[in-house]
Structures are given as structure tokens and as C-alpha cells.
């Protein structure tokens, strides 16, 4: 399934995504193929699948976990002010905030004062990891979730 996903990727416009995908492959290949394949097709992405890949890449949930378990882990750790249901569409702000928190990225002045999806989005936008509208409440596709996560992991390897 992973091979078929990668082949499908190459046909798409975001060639750089493939590079980033390969850069973080060591982290992601071990994860549930089924969840990743589903996430790549989701428009918009569901919160549970996005939460799974983000937490799994940070080693905060086991590879065998699923979206529901990842969402439960977020609720338990109180990573978000309100934890959505696993089937709700995920927003750009939620993706950015979860990546910032799970990857231990320090933000700017306002992220330190008021940590949350809004200033997490600003931080990743300032690092050049976001495409299109950088609105925290914008719903995103699964492909975009993978793009952002891949870009952050690639950047973390270099710094």
C-alpha cells in the first residue's frame, strides 16, 4: 500500500512533498499503512487520522494505535483547549499546534505568552512551512497535513 501511495504521489504536483516524505520515511514507514493511505485521500482530513500521524511521528502513540486512540491521548495530555472528535475535520491551527507541541518547537513572543493554534500557525508560517491561506481555522487536506509534518521533520534534522 505504501508503494502504491508513493506512486500516486509522484503523479501529483507537489514533487517536493515526495522529497520530504522520503526524508521523514524512517519515522513514518513504521506507522500504520492503512491510516496513512486513508489520510492522504482525505479532503478535508479528519482530526483522528491527523492526530495519529503527528503523535506517532513523535513517538507519543504506538504504531499500532489508531485515530481514536491518538485523539484520546491528546485529550489525556490536554494538548488542545478542546479536543474534537476523531471524525471532525482538522484545522490548520490544530495541526500546527500539535506539531509544535509534540516536536518541542519553541515559538515567538506571543506563542510563549499565549500558546495555542493561532500563534502556532504564525510560527510555522514564518518558517515557510505553510502554503495557501495561513488561517488557523481553515480546514486542511490529509496531503497538506503530511506536507507540513514532513517539512517540519526535515527542518528539524537540519538544525
Amino acid at each position: 500500500m505504501i508503494k502504491s501511495s508513493l506512486k500516486h504521489f509522484r503523479l501529483r504536483r507537489f514533487h517536493l512533498l515526495v522529497v520530504l516524505w522520503l526524508a521523514c520515511a524512517a519515522n513514518l514507514f513504521a506507522q500504520s499503512n492503512q491510516t496513512i493511505d486513508r489520510l492522504l485521500e482525505e479532503r478535508p482530513a479528519t482530526f483522528g487520522d491527523a492526530a495519529y500521524v503527528i503523535l506517532s511521528a513523535a513517538g507519543l502513540v504506538p504504531e499500532t494505535a489508531n485515530g481514536e486512540e491518538a485523539t484520546a491521548a491528546i485529550a489525556e495530555k490536554r494538548l488542545l483547549p478542546r479536543t474534537p472528535s476523531p471524525t471532525e475535520p482538522v484545522t490548520l491551527g490544530q495541526v500546527c499546534y500539535l506539531i509544535m507541541e509534540t516536536q518541542g518547537i519553541k515559538g515567538g513572543l506571543f506563542y510563549t505568552l499565549l500558546p495555542g493554534p493561532r500563534y502556532a500557525t504564525r510560527e510555522l508560517a514564518s518558517l515557510g512551512f505553510l502554503k495557501g491561506y495561513t488561517h488557523p481555522n481553515r480546514v486542511v487536506s490529509g496531503e497538506e497535513v503530511m506536507w507540513i509534518l514532513g517539512a517540519v521533520l526535515d527542518w528539524k534534522e537540519k538544525v
Binding site: 491561506y133 488561517h135 481555522n137
Partner: protein
């Protein structure tokens, strides 16, 4: 003014209606403070003689609402307080302005036209050099992206921009408005721009640009001030040195830029200006036509291995008129003073209008740390003719071309993503063209900017 109020009310109603249907929205702001000290005042008859504090505070707020994947509403407003604004102002300023208030669309297409973008409303109009036109206007911009060719077509009206946010100095009426506290809006002009950028195979870029502006003072399209303007008229036999007429100008420009070899880059450009205005000659005001020239070029080399150093050199030439006693409506002959639509900033201390000027510049910048950048720039100023320049303080009888030299230093530091700072300073040593009383001018300060 009544029409202006109606337009504002309609604008806000439109914003509320459109924002209510937005798919996603973001908003934020910027707080900027400049604190400094200097003795530079280009409006002084004896520049460099009085010390003063420089204080500028700007608060900006912005909203972007995505109406669809292709369509967005963009708003940016700011309030500015400035004790020592750049020319042509000579007083403290407190004003509010809308930098952006527009609807932007971007569409990917299949076929020869690959992308179409449009912007309608308050927008920034700029030519490829930003030395002839870089000004806010209310109008429309269309961007057609073909493979290898990009075409921009734009038109806008400048008369609804707040005066404090404007740098148009094309006529004596424009200058009079800057000192008249009863005038709130910028010079009323209709500006049109057509610009084509051709990307060639060898990394070279060729740009062709045509710009025109029409002076709308005294017409029904002078929305801000209506008939309040005092304009001289064709055929009038009374010489009124402090008053002027309408000034219309057109510009045709061409530029090339690209790499020479490796990390060695160049750019060259030239603009030919044609203008029409009233001039008092042989006992009456007569319509005259003039031509003028702006040309420039530069080279720069990037040295990534040497602390990301950039070494650059640049020359600018703006034609003059030996008989002109002022660069604004001072044209007296066929080939005369170049006058850009908006006024660019050249340096921290001495920053004359691009009229009757030659500037030779050398610069060096480096980035010793990822969050720290430093730059050094030296400029030598000359005048190509013995006529006036935009600044005061020149020796009345002098024909000396050397205006002086300036050295600027800046250190920029951004410790975190939403906070930036800049420590800067400049010193200008007047040349032999200045009157003997003109002293060394300097300005130094600290800028701090916080985005929220």
C-alpha cells in the same frame, strides 16, 4: 467630502457582508516604534544646524478573509504618529490610512494562460524598479501569467489615500497641500500601468513598462477637494510663482536583469518621461512639453561562504534642467527635469527626489548569525546640471556638481519570529554645491517591531 463619506460607508458595508460568508478568517497586527536623534531636515534653509529627537510610532491591523480557495478579502489599516517625517513634510504627523482594502482572486488555468490574478480596491501600484511608481491607489490590477511572459495591467486613483501615506510631488499644488492642514487626502491623480516581464532561457529577465498619470485637480474627479484648488490657467498673464497648474506625465521603461556568471548578478533599466504642464514664458502661462530620462544599473555578488556576504555597486541618473529654480514645475526646455510619480527613499539622512541627481553607491552586507544581519552603504551625490535639486541649502550662485556623500550603517536583529529590531545610523557630509553654512547632517535610531 460627502462622496468620500458615502464611499467609506459603502466600503464598510461591503466588508461586513463579504466577511460574514468567509470560509476562514485571520487577523493580526504590527506595532512599530522608531526612536532616534538627528540634525537632518531637508526643509531647513541651513540643514544640519539644529538637533532634534525623532519619534515614529505605527500601529497596523490587518484582516484576511478567504471566501474560497481562489478569492480573498484583504484589509490593512494603520495609524501613524511621526515627529520627523521624511520629506516633503516638515511638521509632526498623526494620521490613519488604509494600506489595503481589496478583493483578490487567483485562478490556475489550463492552456497558454496558466494563471490569472486580479485585485480590486485599495492596492499598491508599483513599477518594476519602484523608483517611478510605488504608491497606494484605489483601482484594479490584472496579472496574466503565460509560460515565459507575465503581463500586468493596472489603473488606480490616488485621491482617496490619506495625505500622510502619500509621496506624490509632481506639482506645486501637491507641495502646497502637504503644508495645508485643511487638506487630508493625497494628490488626485489617475495612474495607469502596463508591464510585461519576459523570462528568457539563460536566466535573464527583460521587463518593458509603460506608465501614465493624469492630474485631476479642478475636475469632477477630484473627490477629496473638489474646486478648492487654486490653479493657474493657460494664457494667464499674471506670474504666480507659488501656484501651479496641472502636470501630466507618461513614462516608457525597459530593464534587464539576471546573472552574469555564478553568483554575480546585474540589473540595468531606463525610463523616458514625457510631460505636459503650464510654464510662465514670454509674459504668459503656456502649455509646454518636455522629455526627461532616468537610468540606472547595478552589480552584486553573493558570497555564501563568507558569512553570506553581498557586495554591491549601483549608479542612478535622473536628468535635470540648468534653468530650473525648482524640480517641481521647473521645466523650461525640451529635455528637462525627470520627475517620478512617487518619491523613493534613497538614504537615511540625505534622500533627495530623483530629479537632477546622479548617485553612485557601494554597499556591503553580511549575516554572521542566522538572526543577525549587518549592512554598510556609501553614496556619493552629484547633480548633472547646475539647476535646482529638491533639497534646500544649495549655494545660489554655485554651479558645482558635487552635492555630498553619505555613509549608512544598519544592524538588524530578530531574536524570535515575531520581534524584529534594527539599529541604524547615517552621516551626510555636504559637498561644494551647498552653501558654506550647511553642516554635517546625521540621523541615528533604533527600530523595534512586534507582530501579533
Amino acid at each position: 467630502m460627502r462622496l468620500v463619506r458615502h464611499l467609506l460607508v459603502m466600503g464598510f458595508a461591503m466588508i461586513l457582508t463579504i466577511s460574514a460568508g468567509a470560509g476562514s478568517v485571520d487577523l493580526g497586527g504590527t506595532l512599530f516604534n522608531l526612536t532616534g536623534v538627528g540634525n537632518s531636515s531637508g526643509a531647513s534653509p541651513v540643514p544640519g544646524t539644529s538637533l532634534g529627537l525623532v519619534q515614529e510610532d505605527v500601529l497596523k491591523g490587518w484582516v484576511q478573509a478567504a471566501l474560497s480557495d481562489n478569492l480573498s478579502l484583504n484589509i490593512q489599516v494603520d495609524g501613524t504618529f511621526n515627529t520627523a517625517p521624511v520629506l516633503p513634510f516638515n511638521t509632526s504627523l498623526l494620521y490613519a490610512n488604509a494600506d489595503l482594502l481589496n478583493l483578490h482572486g487567483s485562478y490556475q488555468l489550463n492552456g497558454a494562460l496558466r494563471q490569472l490574478q486580479f485585485t480590486v480596491g485599495r492596492l499598491m501600484l508599483s513599477d518594476f524598479t519602484t523608483r517611478v511608481l510605488s504608491h497606494e491607489a484605489d483601482g484594479m490590477l490584472l496579472d496574466f501569467e503565460f509560460s515565459g511572459i507575465s503581463l500586468n495591467v493596472a489603473a488606480g486613483y490616488t485621491g482617496l489615500v490619506t495625505k500622510g501615506g502619500s509621496t506624490i510631488e509632481l506639482s506645486k499644488s501637491d507641495l502646497n497641500d502637504y503644508t495645508n492642514t485643511g487638506v487630508n487626502f493625497a494628490s488626485p491623480r489617475l495612474v495607469e500601468l502596463v508591464q510585461a516581464t519576459l523570462l528568457t532561457l539563460s536566466g535573464q529577465r527583460l521587463v518593458v513598462s509603460a506608465i501614465a498619470q493624469q492630474d485631476l485637480r479642478g475636475t469632477s474627479l477630484d473627490l477629496a477637494d473638489g474646486s478648492a484648488e487654486s490653479l493657474v490657467s493657460d494664457g494667464s498673464t499674471t506670474d504666480e510663482p507659488a501656484e501651479g497648474g496641472r502636470v501630466n506625465t507618461q513614462y516608457v521603461g525597459v530593464g534587464m536583469s539576471g546573472d552574469i556568471v555564478g553568483n554575480f548578478y546585474y540589473d540595468v533599466f531606463s525610463y523616458l518621461e514625457a510631460g505636459q504642464m503650464l510654464s510662465y514664458q514670454s509674459g504668459s502661462y503656456q502649455n509646454i512639453f518636455f522629455f526627461a530620462l532616468l537610468a540606472g544599473g547595478g552589480v552584486r555578488i553573493f558570497l555564501p561562504g563568507a558569512l553570506s556576504s553581498v557586495i554591491g555597486a549601483r549608479v542612478l541618473y535622473a536628468s535635470g534642467d540648468p534653468n530650473a529654480s525648482t524640480v517641481v514645475e521647473g521645466q523650461s526646455q525640451g529635455f528637462s527635469v525627470f520627475t517620478p510619480i512617487s518619491r523613493p527613499t534613497l538614504d537615511n539622512v540625505f534622500s533627495p527626489q530623483l530629479s537632477n541627481i546622479i548617485v553612485a553607491e557601494a554597499s556591503y552586507s553580511l549575516k554572521p548569525l542566522s538572526k543577525l544581519q549587518a549592512g554598510l552603504q556609501a553614496d556619493a551625490y552629484f547633480r548633472p546640471t547646475s539647476g535646482a535639486i529638491s533639497e534646500s541649502g544649495l549655494s545660489p550662485g554655485s554651479a558645482s556638481p558635487y552635492l555630498g556623500s553619505e555613509m549608512d550603517l544598519s544592524i538588524n536583529y530578530s531574536p524570535i519570529s515575531d520581534v524584529g529590531s534594527s539599529l541604524w545610523g547615517g552621516i551626510f557630509v555636504p559637498g561644494t554645491a551647498f552653501a558654506s553654512g550647511a553642516g554635517v547632517q546625521f540621523k541615528t535610531g533604533l527600530n523595534v517591531m512586534v507582530n501579533f
